[in-house]
């Protein structure tokens, strides 16, 4: 457990990560055993293994950590969380690092720069309609972020349309105003905290 005394001995960046993670991720308990890096399906594509990243967080290496592509290659499969001998909430930490990287403006410069764009496009749709809208997501994301790759996904998009697996227009929820009010209030609370 990260007590206040424990935290007072950690790097400022370590504290920043803990503060932005919803429940205590037990990060200070890391043994550097590498079970996470060994279990990760996209481990070979990451510029640092999760384990290395945790050592870097402990060392206060804020910028290199937030510039790393590692969090963006996390597929949220929870294999590392399941196997971690110290019960570290690794996936949650990866989400925290993504948020911090976006806030710090490093996200768009990482070697996995497409990921934040994809996430943002997805969120825009959900905020506007209440549900995801896949056709809109794919077209907007590719046209805005990866125009040259659009052709590569076109056959799959066409295949989905042909099999009636894509909606041509979004299906907004009924009480969209209610959802928007909730999300707006959440944004205000968040802003008040980070201010």
């Amino acid at each position: 457990m990260a007590t206040s005394a424990t935290l007072s001995r950690t790097s400022a960046f370590f504290r920043e990560v803990i503060a932005d993670t919803p429940t205590d991720p037990h990060l200070e308990a890391c043994l550097q055993c590498g079970t996470c890096g060994g279990s990760c399906p996209s481990g070979p594509d990451m510029d640092h293994t999760p384990r290395t990243l945790f050592a870097m967080i402990a060392a206060g290496m804020r910028e290199p950590v937030l510039r790393s592509n590692t969090p963006w290659y996390c597929v949220s499969c929870y294999a590392c969380v399941e196997r971690c001998p110290q019960d570290i909430h690794i996936t949650d930490v990866m989400y925290t690092l993504k948020r911090l990287a976006i806030k710090a403006g490093y996200a768009s410069q990482s070697s996995a720069a497409r990921a934040p764009g994809f996430s943002q496009t997805f969120i825009d749709h959900v905020e506007n309609y209440g549900r995801s809208f896949e056709l809109g997501l794919i077209t907007r994301y590719y046209l805005r972020h990866r125009p040259l790759d659009a052709l590569k996904v076109a056959p799959i998009g066409m295949g989905l349309l042909k099999r009636r697996r894509l909606d041509l227009s979004p299906r907004p929820i009924r009480q969209l105003d209610q959802l928007k009010a909730i999300l707006e209030r959440a944004r205000e609370i968040d802003n008040a905290k980070s201010a």
């Binding site: 932005d20 919803p22 429940t23 399906p41 996209s42 594509d45 963006w72 290659y73 597929v75 949220s76 499969c77 929870y78 294999a79 969380v81 399941e82 996936t91 989400y95 925290t96 993504k98 948020r99 976006i102 996995a112 497409r114 990921a115 934040p116 994809f118 996430s119 997805f122 969120i123 959900v126 209440g130 549900r131 896949e134 794919i138 994301y141 790759d149 590569k152 056959p155 799959i156 295949g159 099999r163 009636r164 697996r165 894509l166 909606d167 299906r171 929820i173 009924r174 009480q175 209610q178 959802l179 009010a181 909730i182 999300l183 707006e184 209030r185 959440a186 944004r187 609370i189 968040d190």
Partner: protein, 331 residues
């Protein structure tokens, strides 16, 4: 049996075959699913990556709606909310758990919900995956009693993916590394289950959109493993897994020069077929890799002898005994 039902965005269109088949199967089994009125997206794996509190508020709106609906319909019963999509299941149960673990988070989330006139008390819903309800509440016996067209001759690789058993934010109904409930269900339907060591490995998730090469390699491994064990098809319980393995199979073949043609179906589709429903009634035909050639094998030929598993050595006088394992039930 009556449950709250949270379909999730995929089941509306992209994985409508899952929705159609699960509803058809539920009817046969006497299970009622009451859809949560006006539900919204659970946030998938994207929302939380950008904003923390908004992500929790987004998912919590569903929990609040479901709990209210349960209260107004069946009174004192502990409300159970069923999600057929593994990502929805994970997000909803994770949010429920974290709201309970962190009173500060719960207070913020409820402050946000209040803007929409809603409130959610962590722990007031029991959130379950569809497979859990099917195998544990309905039970294998009830299912076996409904089987009238057993899937004989069909060799199935049972694919659980990640989020149904990992990391177990609430109760766990199967082993997180080597689950067997879907294996057992498929055997109850009369199918032959092949060993599938990668049964809980990742399908690539959203990486198909972010790093195609990474995703295609993950998909290739799964297809190769299923092919190595001579599976006729892969059966899944998650719309994301189905989409990745199915829609991107051709892309894998192009990228790696392979020639996989492994249909990917939802487990409810096979249940429906075994219950004697028509292929159309369980949404067959929506898949990219045509399932019909594989389905034609059902009952067509005498059951092929199982090829000797590669991992077990041949018995010989010199052979050392294998470790004892808890007996596996063979229906």
């Amino acid at each position: 049996m009556r449950y709250g039902y949270y379909p999730g965005c995929s089941l509306e269109r992209n994985a409508s075959a899952y929705h159609t088949s699960l509803m058809a199967v539920a009817e046969r089994l006497g299970v009622e699913f009451a859809e949560v009125d006006d539900w919204n997206c659970c946030g998938a794996t994207e929302f939380i990556a950008v904003n923390r509190l908004r992500a929790y508020a987004l998912a919590s709106r569903n929990l609040a709606l479901a709990a209210d609906q349960a209260r107004s319909t069946n009174g004192a019963d502990p409300a159970q909310l069923v999600a057929p999509c593994s990502a929805c299941f994970l997000n909803l149960s994770k949010v429920d758990r974290y709201l309970e673990d962190s009173p500060a988070l719960a207070a913020d989330v409820n402050a946000a919900l209040a803007a929409g006139g809603l409130h959610y008390e962590a722990g007031s819903l029991r959130i379950r995956h569809l497979l859990d309800v099917i195998v544990n509440d309905v039970g294998y016996e009830q299912i076996a009693a409904r089987v009238n067209s057993p899937l004989r001759g069909m060799r199935i690789a049972p694919y659980y993916g990640c989020l149904i058993v990992r990391p177990g934010f609430r109760e766990r109904f199967d082993d997180p590394e080597y689950p067997t409930s879907l294996d057992k269900l498929m055997r109850v339907l009369g199918a032959q289950v092949v060993d599938f060591p990668l049964k809980t490995h990742c399908c690539g998730g959203h990486m198909t959109q972010i790093s195609r090469d990474v995703a295609l390699e993950l998909i290739r491994r799964l297809l190769k493993n299923a092919a190595d064990y001579q599976a006729d098809m892969i059966v899944t319980l998650c719309p994301m897994c189905q989409l990745n393995l199915d829609a991107f199979q051709e892309s894998v073949n192009e990228q790696f020069g392979t020639n996989y043609r492994i249909p990917i179906l939802f487990f409810t589709q096979l249940m429906g077929l075994a219950f004697g429903l028509s292929p159309a009634a369980v949404g067959i035909g929506k898949e990219f890799i045509d399932a019909r050639p594989a389905l034609a094998k059902i009952g067509a030929a005498a059951e092929p002898a199982a090829p000797a598993p590669k991992r077990k050595p041949r018995r010989s006088d010199q052979g050392l005994p294998l470790p004892q394992m808890p007996e596996e039930e063979q229906p």
